[in-house]
């Protein structure tokens, strides 16, 4: 008889696979990438591509030099690159080389140096974006406006900046906001495409539906409370990178708490900090910082929200 495999139970596994999960995130981002390309033109396509390519290449070269097992096949570098690209303005001619540096920073410094996939404490795409915002404020922070739609769309400040000023009348209509006919980063403007991605991720059971909803809901409710104006609150929700961040970055596995309740608290905190930064901070946009801050708090939330195991003795002060 041939040799039998002897291994530990269980001897069957579900069909879920990590590379498939990553692929699902990429698929969920495709409508947004396509919408951004239609709205902003070739500069958007080129920006997304350069971020994806340099992210994947950065990981490839890192593994090559350090003689590590090649990991680009898990698609996580591609996800980071795609997210980073979608967080950039469609300003390829000015920022292409900054994109390369930002991607390399996100992959090598934020992810690989911490031990690669699963070992990083902060979301690489978000940290990469913040790094670029700080280093290249003038070009990366620039507002690029749609190449399609009516003429007045391509002038003036982004809705978030307008919201912060008194000149509210120059805002695009809520319908235009939904379609993405406004200034902003490539992947943050088309709310409709982002929602399609959200539904896909929930249906594929990649994320819990409540995580983005709680973060977005928190922003809405707080904005409503301070302004007493539902329309203002809706603008707050649809502008900036809130939806993109809430659906795709506040749901990142590695950098959020492991339990479902922990993820809810994470989302609540991220929404709260977003509003605080938007209203009282010096940056008009708070989503990236809010998520990064919550990434740092994530291990603590995870501890507080640990489930009480079945039959475990209750210990004073928690579920130890």
């Amino acid at each position: 008889m041939n040799k039998l495999t002897v291994s530990s139970a269980p001897h069957i596994r579900s069909s879920s696979a990590t590379n498939r999960v990553m692929l699902d995130v990429i698929i969920a981002l495709l409508p947004t990438a396509i919408a951004g390309s239609v709205i902003f033109g070739w500069q958007a396509i080129a920006t997304i591509l350069i971020c994806v390519l340099s992210s994947v290449l950065a990981e490839f070269i890192y593994n090559l030099i350090l003689k590590k097992e090649q990991t680009v096949g898990d698609f996580s570098a591609a996800v980071t690159g795609l997210l980073l690209g979608l967080n950039m303005p469609a300003n390829f001619t000015e920022i292409w080389w900054q994109c390369i540096i930002g991607s390399a920073f996100a992959i090598i410094v934020v992810k690989c140096l911490f031990g690669g996939l699963g070992a990083n404490f902060a979301n690489p795409a978000i940290t990469g974006r913040i790094f670029m915002m700080i280093c290249y404020t003038g070009t990366v922070g620039k507002s690029v406006f749609p190449i399609i739609g009516s003429a007045e769309l391509s002038t003036g400040a982004t809705p978030l900046v307008v919201l912060g000023s008194d000149n509210i009348s120059s805002l695009p209509s809520l319908f235009d906001m939904l379609l993405g006919l406004r200034g902003g980063a490539i992947g943050e403007v088309c709310i409709l495409a982002l929602l399609v991605g959200f539904v896909y991720l929930v249906v594929r059971k990649v994320i819990y539906f409540e995580t983005p909803l709680i973060m977005i809901g928190t922003v809405f409710v707080l904005s409503l409370l301070v302004s007493n104006d539902p329309v203002y609150a809706l603008y707050q929700v649809m502008s900036g990178g809130l939806i993109l961040g809430a659906v795709f970055m506040a749901t990142d596995y590695v950098t959020t708490p492991i339990n479902r309740t922990g993820k809810m608290i994470f989302a609540l905190g991220a929404g709260l900090i977003t509003v605080l930064i938007r209203l009282y901070g010096s940056y008009p946009e708070g989503v990236s910082f809010a998520i990064l801050l919550m990434n740092i708090l994530s291990p603590y939330i995870e501890k507080w929200t640990a489930k009480r195991p079945l039959g475990a003795k209750r210990v004073k002060g928690g579920t130890k």
Partner: protein
């Protein structure tokens, strides 16, 4: 109630043999009877080479309180007594008996007299019965909780949540009368005020059969359980049927429960009727390499390869052979290994199914912690095991309640990165045991 039921892993059912009555296999040419087929001290052989034995002759006696006797499953001659390396890496004595092909029962076999709890307990002990559902815990030891007046509820395990296995299903369909008789026997001598039968809802015929059999017995309740894994795990079963949680480090008796597998209860009634001890088992033979899956009645000690043969053989190259089903079954290193008292299935997998799933780093997705029926977070054990300082490592393992892990396999099953979570937990427990024994 159903909403709060635990054990929600959607493992495939593959109950291909549910409609197949068990067939008796021809007498094997030789059987290997191990002295350790249960949790506890191995039995002590009472025969020597050359002795003639018959079906039901004692060949090894219980050697302590937590132990169980072994009886010959064939008639023939004792050929050899030798050490045997078991599937779990431990060693015990093996008694090898060459069969004369007659299967003559031992003349001394007579029904036991049972007229008190003590006699019931002695009979259970003498019958060689161990938990037939899986772990192989001597039934008499569980039953003795009654002496302390602990048993309030008897819970019958008819969940059969492992993929493929249908031997309990067949008991519930074909031996319902014996289950009923066994329950009545227990009710007579055990002071429990309630009997609950838990059956997964993917077996409606079993639920219907037992419900009608117990229609006149108002102390018996048949509960339909979710058709998800692991309904048959003792603590989950107690939670889902009786709404009680076994405390950490405790036993079912601590919450007043006696859990018995349906087939064990049926056996009890058969033993009370005939006095024939545990010498044969109904075994489901299935898996991707099996040509025609079957339920077979097999003398204990029959080599696995004879059982596979009797089922009609394999259809392709074999990759892995398991005692039990794919979630908790134990892989054997050879098809010469014998059927044990608690073997309820033999799963034979082809090469492709035996290949491991692609490994990735843990992505902290939380699926394992979400699915764990015990509410544990398996990623903590993997992290703890990377700590080299023994004191720190063990403190972390204890803090994360590794002792509550029942190795059900749900976490490893759902992990998209194919992390060896159950394996890590086993290593971690061994690490803690080593520290305790020092």
């Amino acid at each position: 109630m159903s909403l709060f039921m635990l054990g929600r892993a959607k493992v495939p059912h593959r109950k291909n043999t549910a409609n197949m009555k068990a067939e008796r296999i021809p007498a094997p040419t030789s059987v290997t009877l191990l002295t350790s087929q249960h949790i506890g001290a191995p039995a002590t052989p009472t025969v020597k080479v050359g002795d003639k034995v018959k079906v039901g002759t004692l060949v090894a006696e219980a050697s302590g309180y937590v132990s169980s006797p072994v009886y010959s499953s064939v008639s023939g001659t004792v050929k050899k007594l030798e050490p045997h390396l078991m599937y779990n890496g431990r060693s015990c004595q093996a008694i090898i008996i060459e069969s004369d092909g007659e299967m003559t029962p031992d003349e001394s076999i007579a029904p036991p007299t049972i007229s008190s709890f003590d006699e019931l307990s002695a009979a259970v002990r003498a019958s060689g019965l161990v938990g037939l559902g899986g772990a192989g815990f001597p039934t008499s030891v569980k039953l003795d909780a009654e002496k302390k007046g602990l048993i309030k509820k008897i819970i019958l395990n008819g969940a059969e949540c492992e993929p493929y296995i249908t031997s309990d299903t067949r008991t519930m369909l074909d031996d319902g009368e014996y289950i009923k008789a066994g329950v009545e026997l227990l009710q007579k001598y055990v002071s429990a005020d309630e009997v609950i039968v838990g059956i997964e809802r993917n077996k409606p015929e079993c639920i219907a059969n037992l419900t009608s059999l117990f229609a006149g017995n108002e102390k018996v309740r048949v509960v339909s359980l979710p058709d998800t894994y692991p309904q048959g795990a003792e603590k989950i079963l107690i939670h889902n049927t009786a709404g009680l949680d076994v405390p950490e480090g405790g036993l079912p008796a601590d919450v007043g429960c006696l859990v018995m597998n349906v087939t064990s209860v049926a056996f009890l009634a058969k033993y009370a009727e005939s006095g024939m001890p545990l010498v044969e088992k109904c075994v489901t033979v299935d898996g991707s390499a099996i040509k025609s899956p079957k339920n077979l009645i097999v003398p204990i000690g029959t080599p696995i390869k004879d059982v596979i043969e009797a089922a009609g053989g394999t259809s392709c190259e074999v990759g892995k052979i398991l005692y039990g089903g794919p979630m908790m079954g134990m892989a054997v290193y050879s098809d010469e290994e014998p059927v044990l008292k608690n073997t309820n299935a033999i799963t034979v997998m082809n090469k492709k199914d035996a290949e491991p799933k692609k490994l990735y780093p843990c992505i902290h997705c939380g699926r394992c912690a979400e699915i764990c029926p015990m509410g544990l977070n398996p990623t903590l054990y993997a992290k703890a095991m990377k700590v080299s300082d023994p004191a720190d490592r063990r403190a972390r393992l204890n803090d994360a309640k590794i002792n509550l892990c029942m190795e059900c396999g749900c976490c490893s099953f759902v992990c998209p990165s194919a992390r060896p979570l159950v394996e890590t937990n086993k290593l971690a427990k061994a690490d803690l045991r080593a520290a305790q024994n020092k």
